[in-house]
Symmetry: none
Subunit: 298 residues, 2 copies
DNA sequence: GGGATTGATGCGTCATGAGCATAAATTGTG
DNA sequence: CACAATTTATGCTCATGACGCATCAATCCC
C-alpha cells in the first residue's frame, strides 16, 4: 500500500526541524502545539519510523528524519514553485531564447550553432541554462525553458526526444598513468586505481550504472563529484582516473591528459533535443533548433 | 497561504488521467467513485483551477492539469522511491567526507589539498558537491554536507565563514580580440562588445552587480549562461568576452585565451570555508579543513 | 427515444482533527 | 537536591470531514 500524508505534514516536519521546537513551529504553522504533535505522530506512523528525537526541551531529526529532510525540502520547493509558476503564467519571450543544456553539450555543441544562428538572427539574446540532465529535463517539463539538449532516456510521455549524436564513455587519465599504454581498456582494468565519478544525480552516472549492471560490473569510486568538469580537474591533478563521456574530455591534444576507449561493453549515451509535446516554440527557437539539427544531426 | 493537499489526492489525479475514468480510477484506488469525485474537487479547490475537463463519458486534463501532471509524477516517483530507500536502510557514512564547493574552487583548490590529505588519510573517500555559491550555502545549512568552500557574503547567523583567499574579476577574451592589446581594462571599454555573463542565480553575478552599481555601472549582457565554464567555452569560440573570477580562467598559457585585469573599480571576491556553528565535524573533516587552511590561508 | 453508463449531488453515519485543559518529562537555577 | 519554568504528550469534547449508499443528471449509442 502506498504511503499517504498531507503536504502540510511535510511542512510541519520541516518547520519543527528548522525551528527546533514544536511550540515555535506550531505558531509558524498557525495551529496549536497539540495539533502539531498529533500531525507529526501520524506522519511517523504512516512512514513507519520516528522522524524526530524529542524531549520536552530538545528536538532533532533522527537518522531517518535526516534522510527524509532533503526530499521533503525539494518536494516542497518544487510543489510551491511549480504552483506559483502555474499561477503567474508564462513570461515574455520575445527577443530571447531560453534553453537548457547539459554542460558538455553547452561547451561542444553550442558555439558553432550560435555562430551560424547569429548570422541570421543577430539580435536574439540567448539564456543558456547549463544544467545536469535531470535538472534540464525538469526545466523543460516545467516550461522554464523552451527546449533542452539532453540525454536520451527520459520516460515522461509529455516530452519528445529527437536524437542528435551518440557519444561513448571513455577513460580519462594522465599521460603518465600506467593504463595510458593501452590502446583500449577493459572495465576490469580500472580496478586497483582510484576512480573519480559523478554522483547519482547525474544522468550520465545513472546511464553508466545501468549499462554496467547488465554485465555484472559496477563502479568502485573513490572520489565522487557533482560535475564532470571537476572530474577532469582531479584527474589532471593526478588524483585518479575517470570514466567520462568523450565530449567532456579535451577534444584536442592536451599537455597532460589522454583518453582511451573502454570496451566489453562499449557504453554510449545519445544526446538530442528534448521539448514538450504540447508547447509551441517561439519562431526564434524553431529556427535555432533547425540550425542545431542541420549542424549536428547524425 | 501555502497550498495543502494529500499525497493520495495527487495519486488520484494521476490515476484519473491515466485511466481516463473516475470509475476505473476509483477501483484502482480502492475507494468509491463519489469519494474520488469529491477528492478531485477538493484538490481543484486547493489549487484554484480545474485540473480535469470531464463529461459523463470523457475525462481529460485541462491545460493547468497538463502543466501539473509532470510535477505530480515526479513528486510521486521521488516520494515513493525515497521512502522505499528509507525502509531499505541508510548507507554507511564512515570513511567519507562530504563537502560543497563552488566549481572554480573545486578545480583550483582541491587537488592540492586532496593530495596532501590523502597522504595522511589514504582510505577516506570524498564526495564533492561542486555547486553554485547559493546551492552550496543551502547544502551546508541543511546538513547535506559537513562544510563548504564558498564566497564571503552570507548572512545566515548559523553559518560561520573563515576566509582563505581574495580572487579578482578579470576580462577573458580571445588573443585576437581588440581589447587584448591593453594591459588593463576599464569597465566602460566593455561597451560595444557582446558580453557573456552568468545568470543571477550565481553568487558571482550578484557580487559583480552589487559592486558595479556603486559606480553607476552595469553589465550589458548578450549571452547569459548558468555556469562559468560555459562562459569560457563561448569566449573561446569567439562569440564574445566575459567577466570572470581569475580562478575560473586558465592559470597557464592558453592557445587562444587571454585575461586582463579590470580597474576602476577592481572587484574581488573572497573565498573561504563555510560551516554550521552548531554541528560538530567528523575527525576526517576537521583534518581536511586543517590541511586546507595550511595550504591556502592568505 | 430509450437504455446503459458515467460523473455529480444529497444524505446519514462514522472517523478524524482541532483546541482546551492538564499530565508528564526535562532542564535550569538557586 | 528540590523546585520552578517550559515544553511535549495525552485525555476529552466538539465540530468538521470523508466515506458509501441512493439517486439525479448528463452523455452517448443503438
Amino acid at each position: 500500500m502506498s504511503i499517504n500524508c498531507e503536504i502540510f505534514d511535510l511542512r510541519a516536519f520541516q518547520a519543527v526541524v528548522d525551528l527546533e521546537s514544536f511550540h515555535r513551529a506550531a505558531e509558524a504553522l498557525h495551529i496549536s502545539q497539540p495539533a502539531l504533535t498529533r500531525r507529526i505522530q501520524k506522519l511517523e506512523q504512516s512512514i513507519g519510523a520516528p522522524l524526530l528525537d524529542r524531549t520536552t526541551r530538545h528536538v532533532a531529526p533522527t537518522a531517518t528524519g535526516q534522510e527524509l529532510l532533503p526530499l521533503v525540502r525539494r518536494m516542497l520547493e518544487e510543489f510551491d514553485g511549480s504552483l506559483f509558476a502555474l499561477k503567474e503564467g508564462g513570461s515574455q519571450r520575445r527577443g530571447l531564447i531560453t534553453m537548457a543544456c547539459v554542460p558538455t553539450a553547452a561547451f561542444y555543441f553550442l558555439p558553432t550553432v550560435i555562430k551560424t544562428f547569429g548570422n541570421d538572427y543577430p539580435h536574439i539574446r540567448l539564456r543558456i541554462r547549463d544544467l545536469t540532465a535531470n535538472e534540464g529535463l525538469q526545466a523543460v517539463a516545467r516550461g522554464e525553458v523552451e527546449f533542452g539538449i539532453n540525454l536520451m532516456g527520459n520516460s515522461d510521455p509529455d516530452l519528445s526526444f529527437e536524437p542528435l549524436i551518440d557519444d561513448p564513455f571513455v577513460l580519462a587519465m594522465r599521460k603518465d598513468h600506467p593504463l595510458a599504454e593501452f590502446d583500449q581498456i577493459h572495465w576490469r582494468q580500472l580496478d586497483g586505481y582510484p576512480l573519480v565519478v559523478v554522483d547519482r544525480s547525474s544522468g550520465n552516472r545513472a546511464l553508466l550504472d545501468g549499462a554496467l549492471a547488465k554485465h555484472n560490473l559496477r563502479l568502485n569510486w573513490f572520489y565522487e563529484v557533482t560535475h564532470l568538469n571537476t572530474s577532469l580537474g582531479l584527474v589532471e591533478a593526478g588524483l585518479g582516473i575517470s570514466v567520462l563521456p568523450r565530449l567532456a574530455t579535451p577534444q584536442e591534444e592536451h599537455p597532460y591528459l589522454v583518453t582511451r576507449p573502454i570496451i566489453d561493453p562499449v557504453v554510449t549515451r545519445t544526446i538530442g533535443i528534448v521539448r514538450r509535446r504540447s508547447a509551441p516554440l517561439s519562431p526564434a527557437a524553431e529556427k535555432f533548433i533547425q540550425v542545431l539539427l542541420n549542424v549536428w544531426k547524425r
